[in-house]
């Protein structure tokens, strides 16, 4: 009799501890996703600002400069809260979805960088090598930060989908995190592939 009660209490305790551990894990995952989102946002902002610097450096021809500046402006416009607003990616607002605007900046940078002898044409100019290296570094950081973020989103979504989490509503009021998909490769896979399937033409 007593043994039974002890067993039931122990069982209840065990279930309680397990459930709260699972809930805690889901909570921690959401917190980590939030941090990864902020990190991704910082790398995107950094990339925009370095691209802007390149656009206004006077190192490039005016057409390339204008093209880059336009793309940077697009990313600022797409940011929730308007130009200058700092809200993590994945949250959408503005005229143009942020993933598209950031992909446009990638494509504009790629169009500039993938010109034959682009680097050679700039070498020897004051500050050119440093600035180009900085742009590439910033672009690479976006790639890494986005990978980390999306990996965490995948793990979190999986944890939320588990039956126990669904039945007991362990994720509380936290919204399911969303993947952030964008074109972030500075290297063209093959010539002519720079636009992807979604390219709609203006003229």
């Amino acid at each position: 009799m007593i043994a039974d009660i002890i067993l039931i209490i122990a069982g209840a305790l065990f279930v309680g501890v397990y459930v709260s551990w699972r809930a805690g894990r889901i909570d921690r995952l959401h917190a980590r996703v939030d941090m990864a989102r902020v990190a991704l946002d910082v790398t995107l902002l950094r990339r925009s600002s370095v691209a802007q610097e390149l656009a206004t450096s006077g190192l490039l021809d005016p057409a390339t400069s204008l093209l880059l500046a336009e793309a940077v402006h697009g990313t600022r416009d797409s940011r929730p809260g308007g130009p200058g607003g700092v809200v993590p990616p994945g949250e959408q607002s503005g005229d143009r979805p942020r993933d598209l605007a950031e992909s446009d900046l990638t494509r504009a940078l790629r169009a500039a960088f993938s010109q034959p002898d682009f680097r050679a044409s700039l070498s020897g100019k004051e500050g050119a090598d440093e600035l180009l290296a900085e742009v590439e570094e910033a672009a690479h950081q976006v790639f890494v930060a986005r990978k980390f973020y999306n990996d965490l989103v995948a793990v979190t979504r999986e944890a939320r989908r588990r039956p126990l989490a669904r039945v007991l509503h362990l994720s509380g009021r936290a919204k399911a995190p969303v993947f952030f998909e964008m074109d972030d490769s500075l290297i063209a896979d093959k010539p002519g592939a720079s636009l992807g399937p979604a390219g709609h033409t203006m003229w």
């Binding site: 206004t56 490039l60 057409a63 390339t64 204008l66 336009e70 682009f118 709609h200 033409t201």
Partner: protein
């Protein structure tokens, strides 16, 4: 005069700026000037003899969509070579606010430079931040032309300085002759319409109503409608079933087909209810020698010479339209008179007239300046 002209968009893609440059260049050549146009173009595109290809344009995101533009130092060196070999008296760039060849040409050239602005440039912020980079290029423009009052306003606000408004011309020659579509216009008459079918200010609804009045009395009369429509079935559904087989919807047509459509009807109708600044389609129909029935709005009254070169009817009134069109259909002599009057009236909008206005701008900027040369500053 030796004129160097710069097109910012790919020559092989159809577009308003490209057509403008083609028509203007050909009109200037007809006037006896020497013209060379440099434009991005695919290597295998056949180009008119006066066009020099500047290499393939790169598709890039621009302004929320994808544009095919030429930029970068390779384009710069191609423009420089073209300028060097051309020895132009004047350089005429189009849309210098677009990141493409025209901007680059301003940047590497010096001497008399004229710029034409076609569209509103939407984002001034970008021009503000990049202004230090663009200034060297844009400040060299000596004469500015805007194709419309709206374009002039944006130009003044964004780039500064004033501009002369010289509207697009009508390539009247291109509309003069064409083979009618097989079986058209037919013995019992045909009325034509060109324009977006589902845009209410184009007035197709007024014409369809008028056709309901005209159709039953004239058993062979047909209606030929060409232009883009989101839902052609819906347009046809508005016509009473008994008349439906006499309304032919062509959808969007090419430039060549458009001219053929105009030559396939006896009477052309412009039932627009407003919002037209010039009425280019009406002018094109006149250039094809068609008698026109148009709504009495300012733009049409002007192009039809106050009603001397075509019939005007009360705006949005299908009964009045049916009366005017019916009168023309019944009176071949009146049609012939209006056809001759239309051809005479539209001549003043021909590109040759526009070309002479443009030449005057060239002459103004050339005063006291030497020829176009390659600027030694800027890029190596």
């Amino acid at each position: 005069m030796k004129i160097g002209m710069v097109c910012p968009y790919s020559w092989d893609v159809p577009g308003g700026v490209q057509s403008h440059i083609r028509d203007l260049a050909e009109a200037l050549i007809d006037e006896g000037h020497e013209v060379s146009v440099i434009s991005p173009a695919d290597d295998d595109t056949p180009l008119p003899p006066y066009v020099v290809g500047a290499g393939r344009a790169v598709p890039v995101p621009y302004n929320g969509s994808v544009a095919r533009l030429s930029f970068g130092f390779l384009s710069v060196s191609r423009v420089r070579r073209w300028l060097h070999q051309g020895g132009f008296d004047v350089l005429h760039v189009h849309e210098p606010g677009i990141p493409s060849l025209s901007l680059l040409a301003c940047w590497v050239a010096s001497g008399p430079i004229v710029a034409t602005v076609h569209t509103a440039i939407p984002r001034s912020r970008v021009l503000v931040v990049t202004y230090p980079v663009l200034r060297t290029a844009l400040e060299k423009i000596n004469g500015r032309i805007a194709v419309s009052e709206a374009a002039r306003t944006t130009l003044v606000e964004h780039i500064g300085g004033d501009a002369v408004v010289i509207p697009n011309g009508v390539a009247t020659r291109r509309y003069r002759k064409a083979e009618p579509l097989p079986g058209w216009p037919g013995p019992d008459g045909a009325i034509g319409f060109l324009g977006r079918m589902d845009e209410s200010r184009k007035g197709l609804a007024v014409l369809l109503k008028a056709f309901e009045i005209l159709g039953p009395d004239r058993p062979g009369l047909r209606l030929l409608v060409a232009g883009p429509a989101a839902d052609a079935e819906e347009v046809l559904g508005r016509v009473p079933a008994g008349l439906r087989d006499r309304v032919v919807l062509l959808g969007q047509v090419s430039e060549e087909e458009k001219v053929r459509v105009l030559h396939s009807v006896d009477v052309f109708c412009s039932p627009n209810t407003g919002g037209e600044s010039f009425g280019i389609v009406t002018a094109e129909a006149m250039a094809a020698g068609l008698p026109v029935v148009a709504s009495d709005i300012d733009a049409f009254r002007q192009v039809l010479d106050g009603g001397e070169a075509g019939e005007l009817f009360a705006v949005g009134d299908p009964v009045d339209l049916a009366r005017a069109a019916g009168r023309l259909l019944d009176d071949p002599a009146r049609r012939a008179d209006l056809s001759a009057a239309a051809l005479a009236a539209v001549a003043q909008y021909d590109w040759s007239v526009v070309a002479r206005d443009v030449i005057r701008v060239y002459q103004t900027v050339m005063l006291g300046r030497t020829r176009v040369a390659v600027d030694t500053g800027g890029f190596p």
